[in-house]
């Protein structure tokens, strides 16, 4: 039983690796579907802007409020800008944005490709002499890998702005002091590390979603199961890989 499960998991891993390799190969050779890529950038990237901004601002507000009152008892309110901005940039914005995108985009991609699969549209793409990976996967994966780091950076920035407003209103902290503290705390390596992690998370979300979409059978029931599978698996992979990526970045930059 355990052996069979392990075998199935290894098969899945192998197929995902092959899909990733095929996607990479297809993305660096012609033809490249610019129109489809831009469409996905708008859909995946621009379409997630508002929710990303809300998540960022609210996280910044709550973090500043909690750390502000928590540290006030020990006279540590001055450290709030550094703590909030660093935690937002390094961990909270990348993780929250990626989990949100896993839910919003991962489920969307897998449902779309899954529905195309059960209605034979993927077969039609192949039967018309074209490559479904090139047509469907490459634009979605590239759009995810590019848009997710940008969204997470925007989310962190909006969180810092949210924190600034609460620090000013609740703790009478001057805006200039807050901004100076933030700028002296956050380094290029923090921004780069955040974007690097998010690019990886974007790859994980989109590849898993496309892979599962191609595997979808059993009509609408199968499409529902596919979206659930993608959101759960992508979230787990994001959370686990975050630890290892964080460790790697600390080794590289500290």
């Amino acid at each position: 039983m355990i052996l069979a499960k392990l075998k199935a998991d290894m098969k899945l891993l192998g197929e995902v690796v092959i899909l990733t390799k095929d996607t990479f190969t297809a993305s660096i050779s012609r033809p490249f579907y610019w129109g489809r890529f831009l469409e996905q950038m708008i859909h995946l990237g621009a379409g997630s802007l508002s929710i990303t901004i809300v998540i960022g601002v609210v996280t910044g507000l709550v973090m500043t409020l909690q750390f502000g009152y928590g540290l006030e008892k020990f006279g540590g309110t001055l450290y709030v800008p550094a703590i909030v901005s660093l935690s937002l940039m390094r961990e909270l914005a990348p993780i929250f944005t990626s989990l949100l995108i896993a839910g919003r985009i991962g489920s969307g991609i897998s449902a779309e490709i899954g529905a195309m699969n059960v209605t034979q549209q993927i077969d039609a793409i192949r039967a018309l002499g074209t490559n479904p990976i090139r047509v469907l996967v490459v634009p979605r994966v590239l759009a995810s890998v590019i848009s997710l780091p940008l969204l997470a950076t925007l989310s962190a920035f909006m969180g810092i702005i949210g924190g600034l407003s609460i620090a000013y209103i609740e703790f009478n902290m001057p805006a200039g002091f807050y901004i100076n503290k933030v700028l002296s705390t956050i380094k290029f390596s923090d921004v780069f590390g955040s974007m690097f992690k998010c690019a990886f998370f974007g790859l994980v979300i989109s590849i898993l979603a496309c892979y599962r979409g191609f595997q979808t059978t059993e009509g609408t029931k199968g499409v529902g199961a596919t979206t659930q599978w993608v959101v759960v698996r992508a979230s787990i992979v994001i959370l686990i890989s975050d630890f290892f990526l964080s460790k790697l970045l600390i080794l590289l930059f500290n």
């Binding site: 209605t119 034979q120 039609a124 039967a127 018309l128």
Partner: protein
């Protein structure tokens, strides 16, 4: 010299424990239309899908214009699929694209035509299937019969040598059935070969030059319409009488 445009030799295909094809053999001449009959679940559609490599066969050989194609990679098969097209049972239209974009899709992919030339070609192809007013429609705006005709238009737009029809008249009312038959006959008159999978014997008789019956994973009958009608084979008889 071999004049067959398509030849299938000893094709075997299984899905896990289920043996679907146990050695299918047949060949097809250029310009010929073959009717492929058989009970439900005998693997008629799987056979069509195997011919253009949508299904990987277990054993056997498939030749197109005397060239073995079952050993082709997916990349090599893309070119074959511009010459052997597949008309899906449901049409399999891309639901996010309009009728024009659906039919233009293979033209954008495989030709160097300009946008205006592609538009002209799509309009011409739509008129062949009596759908010229549906140019800007979305697939969801079309009835089942209309979707099938648009699917047929997409299948012929690259001027293929063979069309594989997967139950093109299934689920249609008599008027739409006649329209689809008329369209398929137009393709036939243009010299396009075809394999028609159907359960509708009158339709097969109207279009096909030859009938094949798939039974127990093999071709159990192969003959002209006349031979089919006059066959003493009990299984063929049961097909003809519907019992």
């Amino acid at each position: 010299m071999n004049t067959n445009i398509l030849e299938v030799r000893n094709l075997k295909k299984s899905f896990e424990e289920k043996e679907v094809h146990r050695g299918v053999n047949f060949s097809m001449h250029s310009g010929e239309t073959i009717g492929l009959l058989g009970n439900s679940g005998t693997g008629k559609s799987v056979l069509l899908r195997s011919i253009i490599g949508l299904e990987q066969i277990d054993e056997g050989e498939i030749y197109f214009r005397n060239e073995r194609i079952d050993t082709f990679s997916e990349q090599e098969l893309y070119k074959v699929r511009t010459q052997i097209s597949y008309a899906f049972q449901t049409g399999a239209l891309f639901d996010s694209l309009s009728v024009f974009e659906n039919i233009a899709y293979p033209l954008f992919e495989h030709t160097q035509l300009s946008e205006s030339q592609i538009e002209d070609k799509v309009r011409e192809t739509l008129s062949i299937v009596n759908m010229k007013d549906a140019f800007d429609f979305m697939p969801s705006d079309l009835s089942g019969g209309m979707q099938k005709r648009v699917g047929l238009a997409r299948a012929i737009v690259l001027n293929p040598e063979i069309i594989l029809y997967d139950e093109p008249t299934a689920g249609l009312d008599p008027v739409n059935v006649e329209m689809v038959i008329e369209v398929m006959n137009r393709f036939k008159n243009k010299g396009i070969s075809g394999i028609l999978v159907t359960h509708d014997i009158p339709v097969a008789k109207k279009i096909c030059d030859r009938i094949l019956i798939l039974r127990d994973g093999k071709i159990s009958f192969s003959g002209s319409i006349e031979e089919f009608d006059n066959s003493n084979d009990p299984f063929v008889q049961s097909f003809l009488t519907g019992q």
